[in-house]
């Protein structure tokens, strides 16, 4: 069931996820479509997230946007500095921003980074994490991870895990998607584009997520006729065979990356699975610190496992256990 509406205000709206938005020509959503999107959200009880371009919007747009409770997602480079200061989520597109940006404990941040930059500069996160409410790292080239990269990533997560552990010991409960999300999850908590959220693009049409719009994929309805997703079940967890046998609950399970790499929205790539499992295992290591566990309301159980990709052990999948997981999942979600 759709719960969130993401409104991409402009063709040049910042990317806050895996996809790159290379559009240079500004094309704002029309006032009529924006109003219609907001009304639809009100009628359907959808929480709106506005995604902003770097150019400042006119007062007319701002007034309409402020007519409804919402979240703002904005780039650190946005010219509307007041918006950058007040936004719920600020997106950083390069590591140099970490040196000069004035972080706030009231804001969440997304750092979009290439794999190589992350490997080279991850040490900078040590000082940044404690300054933020929440810090998400998103890879812009996840599909390029190779076998050699996994070991590097594992070591870096181990380093960051120690840093987060130290921060917890000092009473600073930092949040970083790579390490802390899994600590309290007992069911999948993924992006869920096309299932729990949908995107309204500047052309007045709906897309599974902004990445599908940027990629010129087919729309799934428009703001006047409503949302009409073909094969909607394929965006749900219960129609994702690999994910049903997985407990890397923090995984983004990005349906756009799935489509790009495996040609199916419900099937993750090997890279997606291994990265999510390395993060899961790093979370497990983090839980070895009693001080971390003592801060958690409902600490999750993270068992030791001997694989990094559930696909590799598909011959051993336990369908009865899967059904139990599904029942648990349905109780949590419906």
């Amino acid at each position: 069931m759709i719960q969130y509406l993401i409104i991409q205000l402009c063709d040049t709206s910042t990317s806050y996820c895996h996809y790159n938005n290379c559009n240079k020509v500004s094309k704002l959503i029309s006032i009529e479509d924006l109003k219609a999107g907001i009304i639809l959200a009100m009628k359907e009880n959808l929480m709106i997230q506005f995604v902003y371009p770097d150019e400042e919007l006119t007062e007319e747009y701002k007034k309409i946007i402020n007519s409804i409770d919402h979240n703002d997602i904005v780039s650190s480079l946005c010219k509307d500095k007041e918006l950058v200061t007040s936004a719920d989520v600020v997106v950083l597109h390069d590591w140099t921003a970490l040196q000069y940006f004035q972080f706030s404990k009231t804001q969440s941040y997304v750092l979009r980074t290439s794999k190589d930059d992350f490997f080279d500069r991850h040490i900078m996160l040590k000082t940044v994490l404690p300054k933020t409410k929440r810090f998400n790292v998103v890879f812009t080239d996840m599909e390029s991870f190779g076998e050699d990269d996994y070991e590097k990533y594992r070591k870096i997560l181990g380093f960051l895990s120690d840093e987060v552990s130290n921060a917890f010991c000092e009473g600073n409960h930092v949040q970083c998607n790579l390490l802390t999300d899994r600590l309290e999850l007992s069911v999948m908590n993924n992006c869920d584009a096309g299932w729990k959220n949908i995107t309204l693009a500047p052309n007045g049409e709906f897309y599974i997520c902004p990445a599908f719009y940027i990629d010129n994929a087919s729309s799934v309805g428009d703001v006047y006729k409503g949302i009409n997703i073909p094969n909607p079940q394929l965006y749900r967890l219960d129609y994702a065979p690999i994910c049903l046998h997985c407990d890397s609950y923090q995984c983004k399970r990005c349906v756009w990356l799935n489509k790009k790499t495996t040609l199916e929205v419900n099937t993750p790539s090997h890279q997606q699975c291994v990265i999510a499992h390395l993060e899961r295992n790093a979370s497990r290591k983090l839980m070895e610190n009693p001080k971390v566990v003592s801060t958690l309301k409902e600490p999750s159980e993270i068992n030791e496992i001997d694989y990094l990709d559930p696909f590799d052990r598909r011959d051993k999948w336990d369908y009865e256990a899967m059904q139990k997981e599904l029942i648990k999942f349905h109780k949590e979600n419906y």
Partner: protein, 416 residues
Amino acid sequence: MQILVWSPFPNLITMENIKESSKSWKNDESKTVTFIVTKDCQLVCKYCYLVGKNSKERMSFETAKKSIDYLLSSPKHSNEEAVVFEFIGGEPFLEIDLIDQICDYIKTQLYIKEHHWFNAYRFSFSTNGLNYHTNKVQQFIEKNKSHLSIGITIDGTEIKHDLNRVYKDGRGSYKDVLRNIPLWLKQFPGAGTKVTISSADIPYICESVLHLYSLGIEEVNINCVYEDVWKEGDDSIFENQLIKLADQIIEKELYKKYTCSFFSMKIGKPVSVLLENHNFCGAGKMFSIDAAGNFYPCTRFAQYSLRNKKALIIGNMNDGIDENKLRPFLTLDRFTQCKRECLECEVAGGCGWCSGENYDSAETDTIFERSMANCLMHKARVRANNYYWNKLYRKLELENESQSTIAVPNTLNNKC
């Protein structure tokens, strides 16, 4: 609910008298590698799913060689116990020189590399039979006979065959195929033929299967096309044809020597998602190679097989197989692709599907949406199948009872 009472007196029925279909080579545990050597064919069969046939796309030996080199040097894709190298078209025997060259190369490489497939390989052909008698084809057969399986497609009676299997000028091909059947059966005794049923063929099913038996073909593998070609009422005509066929097979006791794949004890039962959740076909476990050196999970995903969708390419001879693109095929299960109606269907057993056709007819570009075009035809088949087995069992039961009656005094005499 299953209405068939299978065995009220199970011990009285003698199954030995019922011929079973031959098992596939290595029980389907082998890898199938398909070379689409040409997209050309002498025929333009009306039901053919190959919508993009042409005479331009012919495989070169270099393409075949490069693909074989990749396959044999890739342990991950050649770890099955055995392999079937399949050659299809169009009509494969149009490219017999190329095929001969490819097969020689395969044999040589298996030997040189001391590959575990050496002596665990087969060359397989599905042909329209028109060139079967030619010297080149016969020489090839002689050369590779111990590693060969060849199926000639003959669709039944002349009327039924020529209804669909016609030359480009519209002439039927029945007589030209027929003349090669005796030679084929002599070289491959017990070989089966493949019969395809589309809407227009339904009234000819019974006479066609009987005709094929009369030609000496003992195994008739017959199936309805997976495309949505059916007209209202086709299922009733289909059911009536199968019941007529069942009566004939039982009355003439043809079940002792011949098989028809429409009748099977394994179909028509509910299917458990927990116990039988696998996909119906082997797409992704096998792979196909076309003239451009592109790899497909099955021939049905090559562009010439698709009406509505773009080809689904999983790799090529230069870069190898993209493992990520194989993942959906290797995890595709029954639950994920079926609608609730199919999952809860009480006669689902044996209701097959083709992943390629599913992909082509799906609302989105996915293999996870099962086509239901054959639903009514399957249900009609199940009804006729139930009729067949109930009638056959009762016949055998009565025969056994009468034999037992005769046997009793002897037994008693012995005891005395």
